[in-house]
Symmetry: C2
Amino acid sequence: MNTAAFYHRPESEYAYLYTEDILHIRLRTAKADVKKVAVLMGDPYLLQEEQWYQQETPMTLLTSTDLYDYWLLETSAKHKRLQYAFHITGVDGLTAFYTDRGVYPFTEAFTALPNFYFRMPFFQEIDRFKSPDWVKQTIWYQIFPERFANGDTTNDPAGTLPWSSQEPSRTDFFGGDLQGVLDHLDYLADLGITGIYFCPLFKASSNHKYDTIDYYEIDPDFGDKALFKKLVTEAHNRGIRIMLDAVFNHTGDSAPQWQDVCKHEANSAYADWFHVNSFPVVYGENGNFEGQATLSFESFAFTPHMPKLNTANPEVQKYLLDIATYWIREFDIDAWRLDVANEVDHHFWKKFHTATTALKEDFYILGEIWHSAQQWLQGDEFHAVMNYAYTETIEDFFVRKQITPSKMVAGLNEQLMLYRQQANEVMFNMLDSHDTARLLTICRDNKDLLRATLAFTFLQHGSPCIYYGTEIGMTGGNDPGCRKCMVWEKAEQDQAILHFTKALIALRKEYQALLSFGRLNWLIVADQAQVIGLERIDQKQELVAVFNQGTTNYSFETKDKVRMDHLVLKGKSSYCIQPGGFIITVKERS
Amino acid sequence: MNTAAFYHRPESEYAYLYTEDILHIRLRTAKADVKKVAVLMGDPYLLQEEQWYQQETPMTLLTSTDLYDYWLLETSAKHKRLQYAFHITGVDGLTAFYTDRGVYPFTEAFTALPNFYFRMPFFQEIDRFKSPDWVKQTIWYQIFPERFANGDTTNDPAGTLPWSSQEPSRTDFFGGDLQGVLDHLDYLADLGITGIYFCPLFKASSNHKYDTIDYYEIDPDFGDKALFKKLVTEAHNRGIRIMLDAVFNHTGDSAPQWQDVCKHEANSAYADWFHVNSFPVVYGENGNFEGQATLSFESFAFTPHMPKLNTANPEVQKYLLDIATYWIREFDIDAWRLDVANEVDHHFWKKFHTATTALKEDFYILGEIWHSAQQWLQGDEFHAVMNYAYTETIEDFFVRKQITPSKMVAGLNEQLMLYRQQANEVMFNMLDSHDTARLLTICRDNKDLLRATLAFTFLQHGSPCIYYGTEIGMTGGNDPGCRKCMVWEKAEQDQAILHFTKALIALRKEYQALLSFGRLNWLIVADQAQVIGLERIDQKQELVAVFNQGTTNYSFETKDKVRMDHLVLKGKSSYCIQPGGFIITVKERS
């Protein structure tokens, strides 16, 4: 038995309160190396009296990756305290006692030792990771405001180009604004989405507005506060939540605070609002050139246009937290997406969590983090991250054909095991965004592939997001290509894809509880045939989906109701899934 | 190669800022399975430009346990951001690329992928674990106040027994008090200790005072606030720091808040200060009997005399934080030891850390946790824990002879790898306490063994603690035996042990920097001979110690200066360490 592969960590994603009373205990072992696992557990103060170490509770094999098996026990504790350790039996028949002090022989000489056990010392409701329920029900829609719709030409900036008149460059303006969004709220409601994620709306120089000048103002190119308030109200009236983009890692170099530092240098009242290594900090001097590693201050990447804010400075904290709460208090927004969230300190994000959830208990905090993010997802900072690590893995198989189905499944399972279940339930699953090429483009305009990839993603844990225009078959490469003007002429929209997206959203809503909370099982992982079959199952329902990404037909037998299909032929007693096709069936279990 | 045994976790004890600029990166691999490890690393925004993934920086084998090898790289980052991943070469010659997304072949197809790397997104000084320097220099002395010295008979409680007149029961009083400590401060200064850890001093019913009635009063049996203030001043004058015991998990059942709940039940203003499941809560009713699992409220263990405080209640937080800061503000204490710290919530401890360190930047926070404690040692709660898991492992070999030298070394190394280096530097290493039998008693009165065990512990990372009386050879079993009256008659003190303890303390002070920061290497781990040899080494000095716990003489050759020895005979060209003996030598390296 590979005892060196055992892993468990108390008070982490390996041992956490799922609900107030239910504790999840996970264990990692080497793949296909362990026959069974049982947990010895009980109250720390009753070990002698109850001798509970003589009883065993079996764990369930939860999921597997290419290297590991993961085991789960859902349990509880009458007195809200638990000691536990693992009795592990290998496929080789050997046994081990895996404890807080390491691996020992499974004998009473060790199982009776109170200090050898892992601990959940007390079920602390205040420390429990709580994720907002509404997010589990949300289908998101991401809007890049400058390119969604121009509803008011009077606020167009100088030099605004006619809508869709050309491929965008990095500096073009096309006049998109909030009135444009308001004008199309019914379109979005009809599409079925229930949450809008807005790229930045605040006053800034660029078309993307990630270089904030004033966090308290709606950019005049987009509208004003009254209009934004109306937009929130109208969206809420349609059951659509609003998430704004908080760019708190850095500010724009036109922000008055930075301008003051440029002017007064060390004497500026804002000198400690940033991370200045040496003065001057003005553009073009002292090594401060675009993209150069010679910058005399810390910034986003190596651009002198985005000086990094010193969030360890209490003044900066107060400033940013007031902004964070202002837009909740005054405009009733429902969520913040946090730009470059990983480069801002944890102390600040803990305060951010406290301040925002104090105003709205079910406020949603989404961090932009592209890598593993456990430290931010302990329950007191973010609820979720932009799930690139998950969706890139989906695309690596479906779109880029770089990995096998089994490697994809391993990767997805590994990502799921990085976080608590309640975090996975609100992960933000987008296949494209303003920071990536568009899905249809990476699919090389293969619309069958777009459908399959979208459908597969909609069946996963977490809340899916549609990037504006993806629902009508828009294309575009990396920035600026992915930021083209939204196509509003029906004739130029792909109505079939639109119809498909609506159906997929409707399906996600119909089976929301199952897709949010139901167990995920991989039924078919066929590397040769390039076929993936999965099941989502709870006590009431079972949803089965099979995706054929191979080059030959795949025959699938079922008596269940077909809920959605594409490139599927009905045979006598089975379905023929053609290359690129998929089928989704549902069965009521009770 | 056992790839399933690889382990790394960003932003944990596996990747942390040691100083403002120095990052420690650790990696775990299966024992003796890996030949070498190199790190590929660089700035996230310079991966393309610099192609830094084509350069490798070797890791050092830091330490080993029975199952694992641990590797270390100390590094830095010019722009305070780092991406990194591991190139691992097995003893079997196979290679692997261990990344944030799992294990892959070591090929440029993977090493060039920016999103595959682990991240230290930004070196956040505010998030860095900082441990107080003075603790690294401290030798602690634990005082159980009721039993140290009776300096003022006028404050003796009714029924006080004559000092040392009998073995203590759980309810006896012998009159120990603060004046007694004050009277013996010069004794402590002469002994050489530089910190006193006081068991609770606040008003309470019992002799141990863990059942607090009033956190704002010194127990009248011990003295008053003026006397305590004098004691702190006099201690500080002698270079001795003061640590008090904060019993915040629970209060005593005589505390006015609990009494109010007993009387007014759900209508009490303090009803939500505790965890009440059903009323009444008075002793003797509704299942509320000593030691019964039927208690109608949460308590410490199962005693109705210690109702658990609801630290999630903001009123309770305010109350306890005011107490925590009051004794710093008004009396200038240097540290809090936190009783039953693991059963109090993390939110509260974070606030506690903020409030106390705001008053004294180098305040020391020590949690009573007997099991693995990573979640409390992230830098924003405690600085250290009472290191029972470490010292019990020492005792399991030296004292109880339950494990081999190699198992002890494995256990100690495993414990060291649970925490950041700066946490290990301030761990609280006690071999006995008011909660355990005395060291000499578990040594079965073998004073050679006591010496060896103490000396071995004093050479470890962390600050050692002497439990009152251990320095003069006092004995005693578990509570109440370990709480006997301090022996003050010189004739009844073991002067040889006292002399030895002084010498050991002096040695620890002389080589403090080496013992706090120097690397620990295990030179001899002889299971057959029962001999342990270790080295502490830095750029200036090298200290070597060899302990013979076997039954035959052990010959040890050295040209270094002998700094301390016991049961050692000097031969012609070597030293003969007799059974039970040990030798400590030092060499200047520069």
